[in-house]
């Protein structure tokens, strides 16, 4: 398959790199919104992905619902429960993603537990992801010691495998993780689970600045960031931010299917505000 060669401009890694190159040229930072696939339902997720694309996000993280997500706080966990109760499955997820990625340009990465990938089988999961047009994976429960198999499968398929560093990661290990990360490096802002927080953790700015001296791969900061103001503060040192629980909660508060139009409009506007906050004029 032509997709197997990383330099291929349509590979996930190349599409992600092109987004960061465009950001650099325009002097703006990245907003990468996270939403849960299938919450409130799969049709709404498809519309929300399109709205996020229209709003000018750099990347999209699509959460694959999992029954036992130990890295997630109450908000995302509850969204996974709702999605699974709605009958969300991998087959439905891939079908929806395939449909959506045909229509939008923002690269979509799956945020997915290794439990799910392992059960499907690495090769099959990667092949189905490529076929659906996904650009890569964030696997929150796969430390570098265990990531060799998936790492080489992703490399062969041109998919990004985003690695994570956290406040508890020792410096040497952080450098090692940064070297292995493809697409971007996920800098987790706090030692803790996902969830919106009212203030940015102390030391975050210094940590990102230090990481910046150690790697050329783009650095996105996530966990706990919810407001345009926080996004702006973090984007001053990082290449962008991931906004998760705040959006998931917004969706949950707004969603009243079958009429999802207000939800989609609201999310689109909110992502626009976030994008605006990290645009050149703002910074």
């Amino acid at each position: 398959m032509s997709l197997a060669a990383p330099p291929n401009p349509s590979s996930g890694v190349a599409r992600i790199a092109a987004q960061f190159a465009a950001n650099a040229a325009a002097g703006r930072k990245a907003i990468a919104p996270f939403v849960t696939a299938g919450d409130p339902d799969v049709a709404t997720t498809a519309e929300v992905l399109a709205a996020i694309d229209r709003a000018g996000a750099t990347l999209i993280e699509l959460g694959v619902p999992y029954s036992d997500p130990i890295a997630d706080g109450a908000v995302i966990q509850a969204s996974y429960v709702r999605a699974l109760a709605q009958g969300m499955s991998l087959d439905r997820l891939f079908a929806m993603v395939k449909d959506v990625t045909g229509k939008i340009t923002t690269p979509v990465l799956a945020m997915v537990s290794y439990s799910i990938i392992f059960r499907r089988g690495i090769d099959r999961f990667v092949a189905e992801s490529v076929a659906a047009g996904l650009a890569g994976f964030v696997v929150p429960d796969l430390p570098i010691e265990e990531s060799e198999d998936l790492g080489s499968a992703c490399e062969a398929a041109g998919l990004a495998l985003v690695r994570l560093v956290t406040p508890t990661t020792p410096p040497e290990r952080a450098e090692q993780i940064a070297r292995q990360s493809t697409g971007f490096l996920y800098c987790v802002s706090v030692a803790g689970v996902t969830g919106a927080r009212t203030s940015l953790p102390a030391g975050l700015v210094d940590r990102v600045a230090w990481l910046r001296t150690k790697t050329d791969v783009p650095i996105l900061v996530g966990f706990g960031i919810s407001t345009p103001e926080q996004a702006q503060a973090v984007a001053a040192v990082a290449d962008g931010v991931i906004v998760g629980s705040a959006l998931v909660r917004r969706l949950a508060d707004l969603a009243h299917p079958p009429s999802t139009q207000p939800v989609v409009v609201n999310i689109e506007q909110h992502v626009r505000d976030l994008v605006q906050a990290v645009a050149p004029a703002a910074g």
Binding site: Y66, S67, D68, P69, I70, A71, D72, G73, Q77, V81, L84, S89, L90, S113, Y114, S115, I116, I117, F118, R119, R120, P140, D141, L142, P143, E145, E146, R163, L164, V165, T166, P167, T168, T169, P170, R173, I177, V188, V190, A191, G192, V193
Partner: protein, 416 residues
Amino acid sequence: MATAAIASGSVPLSAVPDPLGRFGRFGGRYVPETLSAALDQLEQAYAEAVADPAFHAELDGLLAAFVGRPTPLLFARRLTALAGGAQIYFKREDLSHTGAHKINNTLGQGLLALRMGKRRIIAETGAGQHGVATATACARFGLECVVYMGAEDVRRQAPNVRNMRFMGAEVRPVETGSRTLRDAINEAMRDWMGSVETTHYIIGSVVGPHPFPRIVRDFQSVIGRETVEQCRRQLGRLPDTVVACVGGGSNAAGMFYPFVDHAEVRLVGVEAGGRSGEPGDHAASLSFGSPGILHGSLSYVLQDDDGQTSDVHSVSAGLDYPGVGPEHSYWRDAGRVSYTSVTDAAALDAFDTVARQEGILPALETSHALAWAVDEAARRPADEIIVVCLSGRGDKDAAEIARLRGLSAAGEQAAS
């Protein structure tokens, strides 16, 4: 390479895990990066402790004077007569302080926490035995203690909840998911994600990410070591069969591990067969599950085709878990240990039988192993010996059993 050596018998089956925490293909460390440093620290603290005679002296002293070890090996005379075949012996973990084997692990890990300078302890519990044993160790060592427990288990194991609180522990009921052991582990892990720098997580079975399965097995292996010695001294030989119940698998792993390289001893693990073999009706991961990743390690898991963990059921809170320790998966696939299951109804019958025949109220978890042992004894000749790991006492279950039977709190047939 390693597999070939194992197959040819040149590497003992006990020579696991490897440095990455692998038991054959099982085990490993599938956790968020946030926990990696703490697991490394634990691994190192454990290696240092094992090499330190003072650590062993302190733990052995506690096991003797605080727990009451060694626990006896008892001939179950009337139960043997009733079964009419092989001789049944009980390894009396129920006589341990706090009434179950769980204390062997919590004292060991409590000492490790002290060595790491961590003064806050979290734990999950199903039956509440591990919660009580953790609260006990924390009281003894002067450590802060928070125990996560599924709300359904808080209800059905109320005496243990009360006892944890008496010893100063905070019990946090978990309302997510099936509100049982699996959800309690999820919540404990989430707590640990945010508290890892000051908190040690005393996991209650041979599950979880490396190095937990190995550490818990080692601390529980005192059960099997004593049993080997007692069999030699009291019976003049090793038993023919050793049986233990398997929830996460810690009493079984502790009992089996010292026997694993004695190929002539048959080892049998008994899982919770629940209401039936239908999905959702049982908790028998090794009998009905498939390899998957749950709570940080690769092992047999009850899951659907997408890798979502299945709902499980057992009358016994301590066995009501969709996963199992990775070393059991290794023993299963190596053919060293056979795993079977016993239904709720058979376990409840065994509880009655053992209470009346032997004057011992066994835990409902243990009753699963007892049910299998009684059936098996009937099929074997009188010169054979079966040792049952009597993992815990049943006081905690008495009220729930009375409720299930429609009896009053005083154990009488409720007036109509």
